[in-house]
Symmetry: C2
Subunit: 334 residues, 2 copies
Amino acid sequence: MATIDDVAKMAGVSKGTVSSVFSKKRPISQQVTERVLRVAQELGYFPNHLARSLAIKRTMSIGLKIPLPPDGTMTAFDTQMINGVIKECTKQGYRVVLDTLPEQEDPTMYSQDPVDGVILLNPRKNDSRIKRYRKMGIHLVLVGRPDPHDESISYVDNNNTEAAHEVGDYLLRNGHESILFLNAAADMTVAQDRRQGLSEAYRLHGLSLRDECVMYYAHTNGTDYGYMSILNTYGKLSYTAIITDTDRVALGVLRAARELDIKVPEQLSVIALSNDAILAQDMNPRLTSVELSAEKLGDEAAKLLIEKINDSSVHRQVIIPAQLVVRESCSVFC
Amino acid sequence: MATIDDVAKMAGVSKGTVSSVFSKKRPISQQVTERVLRVAQELGYFPNHLARSLAIKRTMSIGLKIPLPPDGTMTAFDTQMINGVIKECTKQGYRVVLDTLPEQEDPTMYSQDPVDGVILLNPRKNDSRIKRYRKMGIHLVLVGRPDPHDESISYVDNNNTEAAHEVGDYLLRNGHESILFLNAAADMTVAQDRRQGLSEAYRLHGLSLRDECVMYYAHTNGTDYGYMSILNTYGKLSYTAIITDTDRVALGVLRAARELDIKVPEQLSVIALSNDAILAQDMNPRLTSVELSAEKLGDEAAKLLIEKINDSSVHRQVIIPAQLVVRESCSVFC
DNA sequence: CTGAAAGCGCTTACAG
DNA sequence: CTGAAAGCGCTTACAG
């Protein structure tokens, strides 16, 4: 590849001039501009992004860290999140470096990532990466709240506690007294928040949430989680409604219900804390669900991060409200 | 952030030595190594990936270009592909820069991407990017075959023509005489290949594929494409079987069938050229489909690209066979 | 085993 | 409007 030096020599100017022609950071005469551009064209010259980054100390790219389970499956939530991040970054001229390594293999363990900042998904309790990034002076935004709470960290999150509260209340008001909750993985902050919200709803109705009615996601794909949970508990535990972690989990629930000849919603109501509106709407019955707006979360996370890159003193939290969307999978008694 | 110079000074050694301690490219005495490491630790020093890349002329990252439609939705195929690419790259120490810009806004228009090579999805007819990358000397691997054919380009692809042939044959052998084909977007090479394969199958059975029985994806989401196509054609066109571009499209078909009270598979058989095995298997009825092994495609593409980065003279094509998986959505007459 | 110096390909005050 | 030179933070022959 031709370099800025080649162009400078061949055009008979200094490389500072060539630089200015491309960056337009200082005015260059029409004549010289044209000559430089012509030579660049001939030589097939394109500015080297890397060298530029080193000089200006900005890479114009951000890292997106999504630790994935060993089987490597992304949920619809993940993909929509990614989309939101990429769209906003692109709009502002940033690239996205996608990382799906588990926490222990994070490349920043050994060297400084070639990015201007990082978006971190699924922060865990006392996430060690948060401390490390701060120490390295890497700008950071979380998707999901930090645990323990820390208002000096920028993050975006759904109002998980409230949303779970609302769903619980909706079900209890409609005559359900016992709900099976197929929650997210136990170590995720979102799982704790949702459990707490549901618990509050029970309390408000003078009831209490029993431990055996809350399960936590582990080691399978979403639909199997839903499918197996029903097979293992139906008839043993008594419940007339189910809240699932995602729409895929609900898909598994519906399959189990078909096989056990349980009518949905007549005998069993299902609500998904969903992340794939299209899927929910095409299921049979159409799924009552809570829209998490994953793309919006990604979009806001990117905005927050870029804001922080431009002014490191800012830190801000944004909460995206989850929306209950009533479709056909819940029985309504009153 | 501390630099290699800071460490060198404070440890009383040259920066070449510090460099060697971290890269282990030349032996450094135990004593010095320990001193340097201790100082680095104290100063919170981490090697700057960017500066290293500039010096060694390698970034250890690759670009993944997935042009997305304006609404920005990725298919399950895309996500699995991405997963395959990321897994293989990670294994070999590469990062992945994800780009979803439309062809016209490709950043390499203006500068050299900070990557060692590029994987390009959905190449179109006479894709202009292919020429540009070659001119810029950027290593390139396609997912999907180049059109026009070019054996000097590395690519991975399914055996789309054969697979469509097989599906067509399967349906025709089982007594279907007219099939509605909800094909991919018209400008994709895969759409042409599949149509040709299906056409051959018809010919072999002494029949011919009529134009009005082939539709092309455009401007909606997958399920709507399936749903609307049935609503618009059922009763007008005569067909007893449908081949859909993806499982999401099949989902829309099933919804339309429910609404029109068409029994699947008794009155209508459905086969999806699928990309989401889990979804296909959880649909009702469970969906007979063709598994595309998107993750495998991504994995192979990454391997091919890294191979090429290490030896630019290689170019190779790999074809991943698509697999027909019979489940419950097709009627079998004989 | 270690150091001094040139080089990777840019940008940016400074000077004119 | 343009040039000369230092600097960004590394690596790597070359020399000892």
